[in-house]
């Protein structure tokens, strides 16, 4: 049979965000898949250099609308590290609280989208109805449903009052009960099983080699979670389980995310009961001294890395964002190849992709009116030349 190649995206009903996949088909089966990025590139990192640290909080938050708290917390902890500011314990607890609420919101959203891709619209509507509870919680804590901007330089903006605490505890109970229902639904309903089992398989060794992270990695049996490996904020004081699955397929990713939601409910309860007394923020000077910091954060989709370099002014010299989805993209062609065309949207959705997070390495040459996505080789060559001009020679270094 002759092979045909079809493009999928950037506008596609199965994809909520712009990305392009090049698929080579042999009949209904996928022979080869490639990923094309760059449709969502806005130039956030460059824009961050032109704004002050405080303005950057609101810019970095808009890197992604779903994991906005993750990006900001990761960025702001870098800035606080450079400024050598130790934030109050209560602020740390509130950051964890919002982070876990966000994880619930993100995982429920994903479960809904996955149900939609399966064609199980009832589950989609059910999940999104219950997700409103967590959005109400976030609105109560931060003042907005999606971009809650709870973080500020030196702590958090708003406190948790006893009324808010009581309301949160009430809503968490509802959410936990509903999530447990979805756990049985996702693991016993034959429609879900038929569509997810042995689909989009990523074996453990391949997952490690390709650097998968977050629920995608944990569903392949890789016990990797920044909250456990390198506890930040107050995670070392909390008791929670690291969820893994060893089925390595989409079904495993469903199970990991649903069970993680239950764990997040437990964490929130612990944080609310732990909440130490004290101020919620400290004063940090607007001018941040020279220095650099890298921080890791377990976002709902996986490991988020931010690098910030300060130069003594009120604006950063450089901000670099490595979003979790970027690490998971490499695994997608491997998951797709050998599979069926009808499963493509589900497999892509299963890594919970966030295009807005990950579009980074795009080069636009305005003079020539041309834009292109750089390949790894080109980026490496450019990097070597960049450092040569500064007196460091990396050309002898070989990569394994």
């Amino acid at each position: 049979m002759s092979k045909i190649s079809i493009p999928l995206g950037p506008q596609h009903p199965g994809l909520k965000e712009p990305i392009n996949f090049g698929l080579v088909l042999e009949g209904e089966q996928i022979d080869k898949a490639t990923v094309n990025l760059g449709y969502n590139h806005r130039g956030v990192e460059k824009a961050a250099e032109e704004r002050t640290y405080i303005q950057d909080i609101y810019l970095i938050e808009r890197v992604c609308g779903i994991c906005s708290h993750s990006h900001v917390t990761c960025y702001i902890t870098c800035v606080e590290e450079i400024a050598k500011a130790e934030i109050p314990e209560r602020a740390k607890a509130i950051r964890v609280l919002v982070g876990e609420l966000e994880r619930i919101h993100s995982h429920l959203l994903w479960l809904g989208i996955a149900a939609y891709e399966i064609g199980f619209d009832t589950l989609f509507m059910y999940v999104w109805r219950d997700r409103e509870h967590v959005l109400d919680c976030l609105e109560l804590v931060g003042g907005n449903r999606v971009h809650y901007s709870i973080n500020t330089l030196g702590g958090v903006r708003r406190d948790i009052t006893p009324e808010i605490k009581a309301e949160l505890l009430k809503r968490i109970d509802i959410l936990e009960a509903r999530t447990k229902y979805y756990t049985t639904l996702a693991t016993e309903e034959t429609t879900v099983l038929a569509r997810t089992q042995n689909v989009g398989v990523l074996p453990k060794d391949l997952g490690i080699r390709l650097g998968a992270c977050g629920p995608t990695a944990r569903a392949s049996g890789i016990a990797r979670d920044v909250r456990k490996d390198e506890p930040y904020l107050i995670y070392d004081k909390l008791d929670f389980k690291l969820i893994t699955a060893d089925t390595c397929d989409v079904f495993g990713r469903v199970v990991v995310r649903v069970l993680e939601t239950v764990e997040s409910c437990r964490i929130i309860r612990q944080v609310l009961n732990y909440l130490p007394e004290g101020p919620i923020s400290i004063k940090v000077p607007w001018k941040i001294p020279e220095g650099e910091a890298v921080n890791r954060y377990e976002a709902p989709r996986g490991e988020d890395i931010h690098y910030v370099k300060g130069n003594g002014t009120d604006k950063p010299e450089r901000v670099k964002v490595r979003a979790p989805t970027l690490a998971n993209y490499h695994a997608v062609p491997h998951m797709l190849e050998g599979g069926w065309l009808a499963d493509v949207p589900l497999v892509i959705a299963a890594i919970d992709p966030c295009m807005s997070c990950s579009d980074r390495a795009l080069v636009t040459d305005r003079a020539a009116a041309r834009s292109a996505v750089w390949s790894w080789e080109e980026m490496r060559r450019n990097g070597i030349e960049f450092y040569k001009r500064r007196g460091v020679d990396f050309s002898k270094v070989t990569l394994k």
């Binding site: 950037p10 712009p18 969502n40 590139h41 806005r42 460059k46 609308g65 109805r129 959005l135 971009h147």
Partner: protein
């Protein structure tokens, strides 16, 4: 004012009662996208106005665009706009689509928002928009069709 014939009345009535929408993310942060989907799910339930999400531009009457228009997306958004059947409407959802928002001035974003790229019928501001605002904007757009 010219009175409408029965045929025109029926056409307007059917248009107002079943506007099918196409959702297009022109490079946004997802915030508005999830709120648009939120407006279609049980709590807000936009479907009671006959609004349905459609996967293809050829079936859609209204294109809902969220996010700043990135340079990569300019020609795609024009192409999708051309594929829609007449009469067609574009709704700019969120501060970024209305004016560029927080990303205005970024090197990879078309300056000045969506209306510099395709004609826009309604603007819904907010960062991100609330589902109530989406419903309000859509109802106002439908109201303007009846006139």
């Amino acid at each position: 004012m010219k009175t409408k014939s029965l045929k025109e009345k029926i056409i307007t009535w059917s248009r107002v009662k079943s506007p099918w929408i196409l959702h297009f993310n022109s490079g946004g942060c997802n915030g508005c996208d999830i709120e648009v989907v939120d407006a279609l799910t049980p709590r807000y339930d936009l479907e009671r106005f006959g609004i349905q999400l459609k996967p293809t531009p050829r079936h859609a009457d209204v294109m809902v665009v969220s996010g700043p228009v990135t340079r990569q997306q300019i020609k795609r958004i024009k192409r999708i706009y051309d594929q829609m059947a007449e009469p067609k409407f574009v709704v700019a959802v969120g501060a970024c689509a209305c004016s560029g928002g927080v990303f205005d001035g970024c090197y990879c974003v078309a300056p000045g928002g969506l209306d510099k790229v395709v004609p826009v019928s309604a603007y819904i501001p907010g960062c991100p928009v609330r589902p109530e605002a989406v419903i309000d904007g859509v109802v106002k757009l439908l109201g303007s069709l009846q006139k």
